[in-house]
């Protein structure tokens, strides 16, 4: 492949890697590339599949761009193209790493939190109450389903919860 087209193809590849959800767009861009350069789509797809294996493997093994370049050269790519790809890799690796970390297993991930608070005006046991209540709704992802958890807290509980969460934040910050 002439270098200009190679860089165009690399661009398409990296755009897909950084936005893995845009599968349709990727496929459209690939077929556009194929028609523009008069390459048939089938073999192009196979080549692209094997090329994609390299960045994924590189991520898993935390390879530096030097190592990526060496890998490509070992696979038979010209030095110029390998260097170009390695450069692109260096530029994109923070995004790719972040994506990989984001995909890491999370147990019962907290997705959303809704809240409301109000005053209890009266009840069947007490005509006038006037106490404050706080209600939280936590949306938790359990496997592939969402579960809603409803909790009520008294005011002192709320303040102690807030205090604890601030301690967690300090702890998390000291580790990152």
């Amino acid at each position: 492949l002439p270098s200009q087209q190679f860089s165009a193809l690399t661009e398409v590849l990296f755009r897909f890697l950084t936005e893995p959800k845009e599968v349709e767009r990727f496929l459209t861009q690939l077929s556009d590339f194929a028609t523009m350069n008069k390459i048939s789509l089938g073999p192009l797809k196979n080549i692209v599949k094997s090329i994609l294996l390299v960045p994924n493997g590189a991520l898993k093994r935390n390879l530096s761009s030097e190592q990526v370049r060496a890998d490509f050269i070992a696979l038979g790519l010209s030095e110029e193209k390998a260097s170009y790809f390695a450069e692109q890799w260096k530029v994109n690796s923070p995004t790719l790493t972040r994506l990989a970390v984001g995909q890491t297993l999370m147990i019962n991930q907290l997705i959303d939190m809704e809240w409301k608070f109000g005053v209890t005006a009266g009840s069947s046991e007490l005509e006038k109450v006037g106490s404050i209540f706080l209600q939280l709704k936590l949306v938790i992802k359990k496997g592939s389903q969402m579960e809603n958890v409803y909790i009520e807290l008294t005011l002192p509980q709320f303040y102690s919860f807030l205090h604890e969460m601030e301690r967690v934040k300090t702890s998390l910050e000291s580790f990152s």
Binding site: L59, K60, R61, N62, T97, A100, V101, Q103, T104, L105, M106, I107, N108, Q109, L110, M113, W115, F117, T120, S123, S124, E125, L126, E127, K128, V129, S131, I132, F133, L134, Q135, L138, I140, V149, Y150, I151, E152, L153, L155, Q157, F158, Y159, F161, L162, E164, M165, E166, V168, K169, S171, L172, E173, F175, S176
Partner: protein
């Protein structure tokens, strides 16, 4: 409005047969705390102490329950308010004793009523820990801190009676989620202080 019906005040006079003031006090507390369904067995337990028949005991227990609950419901805190609930011809000493006992217990009873009112499941405890993720199947080396939060939740007290059901929910929070959560909690705190200062 009348706290009790005519006959109920008459039933209260059975207390005159009680062995001691403490027995009366004890009975008042049990009658308040018992739900309507528990009054029957309570009456039966009270029979021997009062030398009263089952029917008399039942009427007494029911009357005491209604009287104490009425006072708590309306939030009566002054002796005069409670004294004027009783009819003219009610036994003076008994009236004073009952008023005294009620006044002693009123705030504890109020708290009890508030603690047992219906609510969404309540938070009873929370624990947390911070882990550092060092590797996974998608990336072999990383150092990502994450938080695990465990909330112990108790189901509605009224439903569980004496055996509360406590369930635990463990949630994982990333740093971003925690920051967003803290933002939300901060907003709640600000709104709470705005309400408190009004």
């Amino acid at each position: 409005m009348a706290a009790l019906r005519e006959g109920e005040f008459a039933a209260l006079q059975s207390l005159l047969k009680a062995p001691s003031r403490d027995a009366v006090r004890q009975l008042c507390q049990e009658c308040f705390s018992s739900p309507p369904a528990g009054l029957g067995p309570l009456a039966q337990r009270a029979c021997p102490g009062l030398a009263a028949g089952p029917e008399e005991a039942e009427q007494l227990v029911s009357a005491l329950h209604n009287l104490t609950r009425h006072v708590v419901y309306h939030g009566l805190t002054r002796a005069e308010d409670i004294l004027c609930l009783f009819p003219e011809n009610f036994h003076q000493n008994l009236k004073n004793l009952l008023t005294k006992i009620i006044l002693e217990n009123i705030s504890a009873w109020r708290n009890e009523a508030q603690a047992s009112q219906i609510s969404l499941p309540r938070l009873v405890d929370m624990d947390w820990r911070v882990d550092i993720k060092t590797s996974s199947d998608s990336i072999s080396r990383m150092a990502v801190p994450t938080c695990l939060l465990q909330l112990k939740i108790q189901e509605d007290v009224a439903l569980c009676g004496n055996s509360p059901v406590v369930s635990a929910v463990t949630v994982e929070l990333s740093k971003e989620t925690l920051d967003t959560m803290l933002e939300g909690l901060g907003r709640i705190r600000d709104q709470l202080s705005a309400v408190a200062n009004k």
